[in-house]
Point group: C2
Chain length 336, copies 2
């Protein structure tokens, strides 16, 4: 097989270079690169390097302000608002993580409402950052319209991920990360990029009919996981991520992909809890008891296990890119 | 049709009387009755009056301590632990709601970890109480084992409800309330009580095979909503409700139904957020924009609409009980 292998450091450098060449501040570019390379290393290609061309396009057109510095607005003793100022989401999310970890030792729980925001990528990335600081993290994010309300036919909500992470004493944090569509929209994007068909049951076309064509699926609506219950969760996340942050709804937000129009201005709600005080000191050992009980049953594994395996492999062996991906990365980094 | 109609007040009085005759403090009995009658009025029979015989049995045997007074333990500035002290969950939950609504004006967000707890009934009931105080409420509760870990075969987790409520300016709060099994376990209990079969797809028997027999289903495991994603949410709720509260896991908890053994000692995690400050003042009007956009599509309705309709009917016309239900209620209230 042809293709090219890049170390994570080399890939990171090229992503930074590409973004900086497309009107992005180097410090912001480094935070975006951290997230894209981490997603790629975790095998989450839909939120990895595949996003770089559209990120560069949006920074170049000004749809994303690559020079924005996110701003913290205190809202209450344990609540803050983070204005992403139409920049990339990652600097705003990193700021939220930092501020939440400053608040929680006193408050036990704290919440950050991120607004004027953009695609936050792999949702698990941000809660994992909280868990690495010893906190339980919960994230609700909204995204441009993709799912119809239950019983309806027109897309209104995004695929609206929920992410959750817990710290473990002798292991990497355990991360749960799921979009509420039957599959992540990124998977359909990736299939489109690769020219592959998608399985039936993932989405319906604009007329509401089943489709295996990723282009038709992206023009139609995604199906929620878990039918009516899943649709209720989609609404819950839309309220938490958009109403409670004062952000655009999925049906108001512009695309995360093209460089046209106003900024999407979606929202993210990030919650952090201090597990020691909240649990009365029981957290660390009880978590291990529960996870051991799961693994005690044949056929089980813990959420994120596959991802951690891929990450370790990528750290040792680097990222395997196709020739096309590698050339695109080089071209973006060389652009001026 | 035969049967008996009771006003909510009359039903409430009989429930209190029944509990008091079965070793329960009158103030605690009133809080339990509030919740059971409210669930019955909302058409949620699995968490309504059908629970009374087993509640009375457990209070009589001492599995539930009807005289327990829940105790608040501050854990951090915006976090508290509520020891239900092996009493009914409702007094502990009511105390948590009260304390959270005292904290949130200062903190913006607050969390209560309820432990040594019991069946909290209709999960939406507690978050609705927060929403009636102007707060956004989120509840995660664990319940005795009913669902196997994904890929496994033995029940480990409960059906682990998530409930969410938001205040509305000119309407009752909107409440989302869902257990993470494909259907609520209470529905299978109710089918068993009524001697009815259940649809296929709700549960598997002890050997892991599909069943329509509610007795076999209760001896087997429930299927999660949304397959692997739903199973991940079940684990998330188990961690939030049991690990983070320091409570028994589903596989450690005794039944909510029979009067045998130790108390179940499950947990509930209740989160409250002040929507005004967190959203920068946008919450109330943006919520109405979103809900109007949903209702603008034919075939849609808001979560809880059916429930609110039944509630209004019950308030006007009373509760329609079968002869059997009515006689049971009378018998329990007359017991000594």
């Amino acid at each position: 097989m042809s293709g090219k292998t890049l170390t994570l450091e080399k890939a990171h450098g090229l992503v930074v270079q590409a973004l900086v060449k497309h009107r992005t501040d180097p410090a912001n570019a480094a935070l975006v690169a951290d997230a894209l390379v981490a997603a790629e290393a975790d095998g989450q290609k839909g939120h990895g390097l595949s996003r770089l061309p559209s990120y560069c396009g949006q920074a170049a057109s000004g749809k994303v302000d690559g020079f924005a510095t996110p701003q913290v607005q205190p809202a209450a003793a344990a609540a803050l608002r983070v204005d992403a100022r139409h920049g990339f989401a990652y600097p705003a999310m990193a700021l939220a993580v930092e501020k939440l970890s400053e608040l929680t030792p006193t408050s036990g729980v704290a919440v950050a409402a991120v607004f004027n925001s953009h695609h936050c990528g792999l949702a698990g990335y941000h809660v994992e950052a909280l868990a690495r600081r010893g906190l339980v993290g919960l994230l609700f994010a909204n995204t441009p319209q993709a799912i119809a309300p239950w019983g309806g036919s027109r897309g209104l909500f995004g695929t609206n991920p929920i992410a959750f992470a817990v710290p473990r004493e002798k292991h990497d944090p355990m991360v749960i990360d799921l979009s509420l569509s039957k599959v992540a929209r990124g998977k359909i994007m990736f299939a489109k990029q690769e020219g592959q068909a998608i399985p039936e049951g993932w989405a319906v076309d604009a007329a509401g009919k089943p489709t295996t064509d990723p282009v038709a699926a992206l023009a139609g609506t995604m199906l929620p996981m878990g039918d009516a219950k899943g649709a209720a969760l989609v609404l819950m996340v839309e309220i938490l991520a958009a109403v409670l942050t004062g952000s655009h709804f999925g049906f108001e937000a512009t695309s995360f992909f093209d460089a046209e129009g106003e900024p999407p201005s979606v929202g993210q709600l990030l919650l952090a809890m201090a597990p020691g005080p909240v649990s009365g000191g029981a957290f660390a050992s009880r978590l291990e008891t529960l996870l051991a009980a799961i693994l005690d049953q044949e056929g089980t594994r813990l959420p994120g296990d596959r991802r951690l395996g891929l990450r370790e492999k990528a750290q040792k062996e680097g990222l395997a890119l196709t020739d096309q991906q590698y050339e695109q990365l080089q071209r973006l980094a060389a652009d001026h």
